[in-house]
Symmetry: C2
Subunit: 615 residues, 2 copies
């Protein structure tokens, strides 16, 4: 199918938008009138530039408040339309979006609406233009797609059809099934947008919070399936109004948009997806974390923390200043050769176990992720890596499997472990694996990052949460594989806007312990105090849960935080932040599914009270 996007979805001048849309590989574009009106490009220039970029001008939009006006206003509206037809001829655009009237002057009279739209279509046809009528979700009298269709059918003119918009249909919780009864040739255009569930007026929601399909909570793919069953063969066109995208770099947003369309076409699936849609290879769902790599300064204090948690250094990279620390299946690489780590640890790479690393990279590449060239020694194991939207490197690994040369082979065994294979035999052993990794995202990239992890790795998004921070608010969204073996939390910190406010681009690695009390005692015995939890927290916990005096005493003594859900219990504690990184130790008891979000404000307050250490 042809892929198109409305200029309003991107930031910048009209010229910038067209360039970005062309560069992202779209086939067509909707020209949003306000973008043209404020541009110094004449319509003829826009037409030429679009042609040079291989972009069809699919739609000119919007034409507002036309139908069902009292007869004395009709002449002025037709005059306005003639002016727009003239602009469209200069643009070379042959399709005009007319959205349903929102004016208080509009009359609730479908016959009048049909009659006037027919008149408009007759005039349009004289210019070779077709009119696509759209029911806005907040239209004064017409706000439902099937209502718009009754009017279009009554008007009965070949140059008059419908524009369908996923937002307007799905935002009103309307059943999209009846759309299938509309003949495909009367659907002139299909606009697509998603949106997160937010409890607000639909107009306000639409103007500020739309996002690309797959980034929100609407079933856009389901709607597209219904529309394709009608025989619709026009473009899939993205139209998003979003306060964040308005401020983001256009090239980046356009690529994000294209990724969304590719993933959408995949979800729409065959047989509805017509020929020509290049469906990417299926996601290769990761089966666990292979490692977390921290860029660190030389003589990093963090190695002391790892040691205190019971990790042992099991190897050193043969060609680079990278140490491998292990405990159970939890592996942490400390890379003192990366410049990022000079001021203290930064999480710069994540290793993911996948059944087929090369296929994982192909999938990521088909979804427009930058594949990282790895400068390697010819003897090194192959490294299949891509960059996530925030720059974190993702390595696809098969650790110590017979069918694939393992990345661990690049690490020479340490002398004290010489007897064993590269293993964590000498480690404490309470910690078994990485439970989850939490990354703070730049605030204007959260939607992009969440779509990336969802589409590239096949992770499933969980509920979005708002967590109070003493200096602001964190938005947090966890994503995981179905089996929970890979869990990520993406956070955005709206924190400390004022001069001297804190910087909180924190990242953390949560380690699963099978005996958190033992791990908590171990770290203390090694002289590393975990992040302090205030006594008031325990007073409050006792008021909320009756866990028995002994258990409450133990939690307080060991500084453990507690949560529970209907599936089980969660115990956790944190290490003090060094650089941008801290560790969390967690123990899931029963089938607890969350991340202890209820305790995040306590953790954040303690972290602000005890600023990050340098090393």
């Amino acid at each position: 199918m042809r892929r198109s996007i409305a200029t309003v979805s991107l930031s910048g001048s009209l010229a910038d938008k067209l360039t970005a849309i062309g560069a992202a590989g779209f086939d067509g574009v909707e020209i949003f009138e306000n973008d043209l009106v404020s541009s110094d490009m004449a319509p003829e220039d826009v037409r030429r530039r679009a042609a040079d970029l291989g972009l069809a001008i699919e739609l000119y939009q919007p034409f507002r408040d036309f139908e069902a006006v009292p007869p004395d206003r009709l002449a002025a509206s037709l005059r306005r339309a003639e002016h727009k037809f003239a602009v469209m001829e200069r643009l070379g655009a042959t399709r005009l979006l007319v959205c349903s009237n929102v004016s208080p002057a509009a009359v609730d009279d479908d016959e009048l609406a049909a009659e006037q739209l027919r008149l408009l279509a007759e005039r349009a046809a004289e210019h070779g233009i077709r009119v696509a009528y759209e029911a806005l979700a907040w239209g004064r009298h017409v706000n439902d797609v099937m209502h718009a269709w009754r009017i279009v059918r009554a008007a009965d003119h070949p140059a008059l059809g419908l524009c369908l918009d996923s937002f307007h249909i799905l935002a009103r919780d309307a059943d999209p099934y009846p759309v299938e009864t509309i003949p495909g040739e009367k659907i002139f255009f299909l606009q697509l947008a998603d949106a997160p569930s937010l409890p607000m007026d639909v107009l306000y929601w639409s103007r500020h919070y739309r996002c690309f399909p797959g980034q929100g909570d609407l079933d856009v793919a389901g709607l597209v399936r219904h529309v394709l069953r009608t025989g619709y063969a026009g473009p899939l066109s993205l139209e998003v109004f979003n306060d964040i995208f308005r401020q983001a770099a256009a090239m980046r947003t356009a690529r994000d948009a294209m990724r969304s369309l590719i993933a959408l076409e995949e979800r729409v699936g065959s047989p509805a997806a017509p020929a020509g849609s290049a469906v990417p290879p299926r996601p290769v769902v990761p089966s666990g974390f292979a490692f977390a790599e921290l860029a660190v300064p030389e003589k990093a204090e963090v190695s002391g923390v790892l040691g205190a948690l019971g990790f042992v250094r099991t190897g050193t990279h043969r060609g680079k200043p990278v140490e491998l620390w292990e405990q159970g299946e939890a592996r942490v690489l400390l890379n003192s050769g990366a410049p990022d780590g000079a001021d203290g640890p930064v999480l710069n790479a994540i290793g993911l176990e996948t059944p087929d690393p090369a296929a994982s990279v192909k999938r990521a590449e088909a979804l427009l992720s930058p594949v990282l060239p790895r400068l390697r020694d010819p003897d090194d194991a192959p490294l299949d890596a891509v960059a996530a939207p925030d720059g974190t490197e993702l390595f696809f690994c098969r650790t110590a499997r017979p069918d694939h040369l393992s990345w661990t082979a690049d690490f020479s065994k340490n002398r004290r472990d010489a007897a064993s294979a590269v293993s964590a035999a000498g480690a404490a052993g309470e910690i078994t694996h990485i439970d989850h990794i939490a990354l703070t995202q730049p605030w204007h990239h959260l939607d992009e990052a969440s779509l990336f992890y969802r589409s590239v790795l096949g992770l499933r998004p969980h509920e979005s949460l708002e967590l109070p921070d003493p200096y602001g608010l964190l938005r947090s969204r966890a994503m995981s594989t179905e089996d929970g073996r890979v869990r990520m939390a993406l956070n955005v910190a709206y924190v400390g806007a004022h001069d001297g406010g804190p910087d909180v681009g924190w990242q953390h690695v949560a380690l699963a312990s099978r005996d958190i009390a033992a791990t908590a005692r171990r770290i203390r015995a090694a002289g590393h105090e975990p992040l302090a939890v205030p006594g008031n927290y325990y007073d409050d916990l006792e008021s909320r849960h009756d866990l028995g005096a002994e258990r409450h005493r133990l939690l307080r003594e060991l500084g453990l935080l507690y949560d529970r859900d209907e599936h089980g219990e969660f115990l956790h504690f944190y290490t003090v932040t060094t650089g941008r990184v801290f560790f969390e130790v967690v123990q899931r008891v029963g089938g607890y599914r969350g991340y202890g979000a209820v305790n995040a404000p306590v953790r954040l307050a303690a972290q602000h009270a005890r600023p990050s250490r340098p090393g």
Copy 2:
């Protein structure tokens, strides 16, 4: 009345919040439970610190989901309450806020609610604690203050009363009048918050968008009048949840909060306002702009722009490198001695004509505005000045009036004007005065700034607007005197968040012309092209308005923008930005009341296309 504020209204640790609340001069504080739970201060420490700061702990809050639970849940709730009573005893707090149950487990049974609340009050009374029951606007069964009152009356216990909250009452559009029927002694507490009108769910609105009274659209003063008529004599206590205040500096927010309370008490007015409320001197409403002062580099290009607009340099300050430029009553000072201006003009001061400059300063000071010390020559005219929240200096002036030494007396007349008094006789004369001044505010200070101009100067806020910028969104709120002689526009730019995005802290001075066509011709003849308006704008204008071919031709030829409202017409154009500053020339025809906001996107696009010049 006692002035109080909830800790949740401010950012930072509990210790930081208490310090800021004390410094701003409050009498008391509500301890928000989450702030205590995440604090490393023991309740006894909080009690001591509050006492040291002279703060009474007025309320401990909130206690949730207590009343009207099935009997089997009551024991756990009472157990929870006993824990909280213990904490309150340690805090020295004697009033507990219980908000209406939001849990799905709550039963719709007023008798049960009354019975259980009575039980809670009995237990509380044993600890010397009183319970203030509040109807949350989103309470499951109790969401209306009069409903809460019926339950409290039925429970009939001296330790049980009501907490009233202006947000919960006004957000539901309930008539506040019946509040007067509640006996004052049964109103245990009064919480105050305002909010801007936003079309969203009341819980979402409350959690993110509350603001201090006078910053939003609710009639908080009206509600307080009703409450005071009951005989209520407790504190006025601010309780605000606001995404922006969460991120702002606590000291500043606390001062803003106190300004809001002072202004509120004034609006509530006598006789209701009890003795002890220090009402500030009445606002001295400004009658016009005396001048706009720009900090400029030496040899500022902006003087060329002023000359081209028909201004003449009429004087030079006797002691400082400041030039006075005049045309009609429009005066611009170019100050090349201020370091701010080194990189190009910055608007750093505004002169306002007032009937009594000293009284204006007293008013500003009573509302906690910093009064500026002026280092002056003993011969100079007195300068009465305060700092607005964004740092702009406001001078209160009486220009060339016999009753007051005029600031213009500090300027020696230029030689070519030696014959005249300090006057603009040599100027072109189309420009008559400053129509308005628009200031871009830091995004986290808009509410503070709008309250400042409203309370200190008595300006009236107009509707908040959202204006699309090619790289984001501007929020804009105009404020004016009743007679329109002083008009300000406060803008916040949510623009260009990405690396390399534009910086748009623009400020502008709009000059009223009685013949904008002549001014437009004059500036061109002087070799200064105004900001270019695209041809597409005029094509669109012709489609929207039929002004006749001749008028459309003239607008296009002169590059004038056009708007109209039901009162009249508006013509305007802009100069190219230098530094942070540009000029607008406007002509109001008839009684047009707006600011040409409809044309702002066209202006912004043109400004981005033509970046600011250095001089």
